[in-house]
């Protein structure tokens, strides 16, 4: 009894993206142009990496509030290594990834092994990360090399080429593919869903749920590190004691993409669409001459709309077929 019906709900999020893009192309001032397209891409790199990481976390039924400050803390320490300790650029970038991964591991240990609620554990690391970055840098803004300077290759490599090609988009796409395979084609991904769907059942099926759950948070930390590298590449200066609030953009992207906060379901395709919905909204409103607080307002609206949509979808999906 397999009734393969055309599932309209699946296409709602991509449709919203297309409609938004169309809307601003008509009503925005020169929105339909390469410049704006590149702006849309540029603004989405670091959010995209965070959102990909936190998608895994949210599928397990958890949450990570430390995304933003983990990213900033790692980028600050990497910048410190570059500016003050005079490490080679490559090592500095590796340090960004390592610091963020370690914060993720700390989250994972606290949540999986010490049974702290994810909200509390990551609220703690959110504040600790913000403080720690400021302590290490002695509250100084860290500057990464700019185009054309000695280590400027790093911008060309991660942000845009000398010809202006948005190479960051390629990185995001590649990372998305890797994460997609990880989530859908490996044990790591399968157990991520299993834990979110019914942790006890997964445990009784013989899965070592604790290390796997810790691994999910660690992976999310790594993604925040990658976000930090791209943030540094695009925006150059990293200011201490910032970053809180950014996690909400990452989480909003996931939620707009239809991943349920209660765990067990969710897709990376949805997440990436969610991230771009926010980015299109931001640039689109800008092209209409509206300030960034309009963007904040409308993003909030979209989040609520997306969750209402999600509830409808879940209701449809839960119908028992006899």
């Amino acid at each position: 009894m397999t009734t393969k019906k055309f599932d309209l709900t699946k296409f709602l999020a991509p449709m919203v993206l297309v409609i938004l893009y169309g809307f601003f192309s008509i009503f925005g001032n020169r929105f339909f142009s390469t410049d704006y397209l590149i702006n849309i891409l540029d603004g989405s790199y670091y959010i995209g990496f965070m959102a990909i990481g936190v998608t895994f976390v949210i599928i397990t039924g958890g949450i990570d509030l430390s995304l933003g400050t983990t990213m900033m803390c790692a980028a600050l320490i990497g910048g410190m290594a570059y500016n003050s300790w005079h490490w080679p650029m490559g090592w500095c970038l590796a340090l960004v990834l390592v610091v963020a991964t370690l914060i993720g591991l700390l989250n994972g240990i606290m949540i999986a092994f010490l049974n702290l609620p994810p909200f509390i554990a990551t609220l703690g690391t959110q504040m600790m990360g913000m403080g720690f970055g400021a302590i290490v840098t002695k509250v100084q803004t860290m500057r990464y090399p700019t185009f054309g300077t000695a280590d400027g290759w790093f911008k060309n490599f991660f942000y845009k080429t000398t010809t202006g090609f948005p190479v960051g988009a390629i990185w995001l796409a590649a990372f998305f593919l890797v994460a997609f395979v990880l989530l859908n084609k490996t044990r790591f991904g399968r157990y991520t869903y299993a834990i979110g769907s019914n942790t006890e059942a997964a445990r009784l099926s013989g899965i070592k749920t604790k290390p796997w759950l810790a691994a999910v948070y660690t992976f999310c930390g790594f993604c925040c590190g990658a976000a930090g590298v791209f943030y540094a590449a695009v925006y150059t200066s990293i200011i201490p004691s910032t970053g809180n609030g950014q996690e909400l953009l990452g989480i909003a992207g996931v939620v707009i993409g239809g991943t349920s906060m209660s765990g067990g379901t969710g897709t990376l395709v949805g997440t990436i669409i969610g991230v771009f919905v926010m980015s299109v909204l931001k640039q689109g409103l800008m092209s209409m001459g509206l300030q960034s607080h309009w963007q904040t307002f409308f993003t909030g609206l979209v989040v609520i709309g997306a969750v209402l949509l999600d509830q409808y979808r879940v209701k449809q999906g839960n119908k028992v077929i006899h």
């Binding site: 009894m1 397999t2 395979v181 084609k185 490996t186 044990r187 399968r190 869903y193 299993a194 979110g196 769907s197 019914n198 006890e200 059942a201 997964a202 445990r203 009784l204 099926s205 013989g206 899965i207 067990g264 379901t265 999906g317 839960n318 119908k319 028992v320 077929i321 006899h322």
Partner: protein, 497 residues
């Protein structure tokens, strides 16, 4: 080779301050359905958790397939071929059937990647061999509970289990589904596997089991051949005393007793033109199969679900009931089938639960009047003998029977005269059951009237003065207790089908 698959001998288990298992024994043969029964807290679950490697035993021996084993974890038990079918199904609802069956042992392609095609294929073959028509790519949450249970059995089969432990497998199933499950259990038995079958529904034992082991207070009471004993024997083994479970002989309500509640032409989803009368001092039983519309009728009556049409009369007066608070105002209390979700707030104390429905009468100005609340709660704890260490004990720490009594106390404190009991003894052990029965009879003596929905025939026959039978949303028969037998109830219950 001996014909003994599993032997658990003199198992001991201590929890802080409790001797949970004291010389517990069970012996299962190849090709046997072995029932394990006992009141709640008799130690069945604890013993099975030892067998599943969740608890470590503090003494005794487990001999499995002729050799003594130590079980360290559920995974260890699984690897040895001990499959648990848990009471709360242990599946991942968002994952597909095949993903669930192969969880923890996914077929891989090239070491790193999952081979989903192979998993689907193998799952399909497995399900077909079980004569089950379930698509392996369906998500578990879209399946009925019965199908989910079958998937869980398939999962255990896939682990090459030789011993299946089924904990209350039939409680969520309809009669046809139970029949299907039993057919399946018999085929497992015919294939030489051993099954430990735990159930509260004693009448099932004679349909499915070969032998019965009874436990009481963590101890082994005895093992008997099912064919050689009757229900009464098992019950007295379980409780250690003889409880007479005789059906009521005749109605205790005189024909001219006033009608306290009348429903006329109730129509709601799965409720088709239902009309009935309840007299003062009467216990009106509602019989029917699962899904017959009994709960829906009562919820529509109580205002918990919207009604399409229908009139309700209380003491001869037509009343408007459109929400539970309307119903309560007219003295109707509803004891839901699912206590945890609807009946009690388990995180609150005994006293808070007792007065919850009647708070406005227990205040001093804008504040709660603790003295009055304590007084009335103490009064009812004694009156209906709720066993609780204190008024401030959290309800979640009480037994199922006592939780049920707290719901009753709540409605009595609210001065309800009509009480609707929906499956009042589900999941309650035999001893607590007879206390609930006693309490119901006492309520009747005090002039209350009761509607009782029950799926247990003996309970209906023992308690009711009159039995209304429903099928497919409509009333198909009404029997005075002196005419009611299991056979004619079943006849009405299967009408319209």
């Amino acid at each position: 080779m001996s014909d003994i698959l599993l032997e658990m001998k003199n198992i001991q288990k201590f929890f802080p301050g409790v001797h949970a298992l004291d010389n517990a024994n069970i012996e299962v043969r190849y090709g046997e359905v072995h029932a394990l029964v006992g009141e709640n807290g008799a130690g069945k679950s604890t013993l099975m958790k030892v067998l599943n490697g969740i608890y470590k035993k503090d003494g005794g021996q487990i001999i499995y397939k002729g050799e003594e084993i130590e079980l360290s974890s559920p995974l260890d038990a699984q690897k040895r071929g001990i499959g648990m079918i848990h009471q709360e199904l242990n599946l991942m609802p968002h994952l597909t059937v095949a993903e669930n069956i192969f969880i923890g042992k996914e077929p891989m392609a090239g070491g790193v990647f999952l081979d989903q095609k192979k998993a689907n294929q193998a799952a399909k073959e497995l399900l077909t061999s079980m004569h089950l028509d379930i698509e392996p790519t369906r998500r578990i949450k879209t399946l009925t509970v019965a199908k989910q249970q079958m998937v869980e059995i398939a999962k255990a089969l896939n682990n090459n289990s030789e011993l299946f432990v089924m904990d209350e497998p039939t409680s969520p199933l309809t009669d046809t589904e139970i029949e299907e499950l039993f057919r399946f259990i018999r085929s497992l038995r015919a294939a030489g596997r051993g099954i430990i079958y735990i159930s509260h529904r004693l009448e099932e034992l004679w349909r499915i089991s070969d032998r019965i082991t009874v436990m009481r207070d963590g101890q082994y009471v005895g093992t008997v051949n099912t064919a050689e004993v009757n229900r009464q024997d098992i019950i007295s083994m379980m409780v250690g005393r003889v409880i007479y479970e005789e059906p009521k002989q005749k109605s205790c309500v005189s024909a001219d007793a006033p009608v306290v509640l009348e429903a006329k032409d109730l129509v709601a989803p799965n409720v088709k033109n239902v009309s009935f009368q309840l007299r003062q001092g009467e216990i009106l039983g509602f019989a029917g199969l699962v899904g017959a519309g009994r709960t829906e009728t009562m919820r529509a009556l109580f205002g918990a679900d919207p009604r399409v049409k229908g009139e309700i009369f209380v003491n001869g007066q037509k009343v408007e009931i459109h929400s539970p608070s309307d119903a309560v105002k007219h003295g109707i209390g509803y004891l839901s089938e699912d206590r945890k979700t609807f009946g009690v707030a388990t995180g609150l104390s005994v006293r808070d639960n007792c007065v919850m429905a009647d708070l406005p009468n227990y205040r001093k100005g804008p504040l709660m009047n603790d003295k009055m609340i304590d007084a009335v709660t103490t009064d009812y704890i004694q009156k209906i003998s709720i066993k609780t260490p204190s008024l401030r004990q959290l309800v979640r720490n009480l037994s199922g029977g006592n939780q049920q009594k707290i719901v009753i106390a709540k409605w009595l404190i609210k001065r309800c005269n009509v009480l609707i009991f929906d499956e009042p003894t589900r999941g309650i052990d035999v001893g607590a059951k007879s206390e609930i029965y006693k309490l119901m009879n006492k309520l009747i003596e005090e002039g209350k009237s009761i509607i009782m929905i029950s799926s247990e025939m003996p309970e209906l026959l023992r308690m009711s003065d009159r039995i209304v039978v429903m099928s497919e949303g409509a009333i198909t028969g009404e029997l005075d207790i002196c005419n009611a037998t299991q056979t004619n109830i079943m006849t009405f219950a299967t009408m319209n089908m």
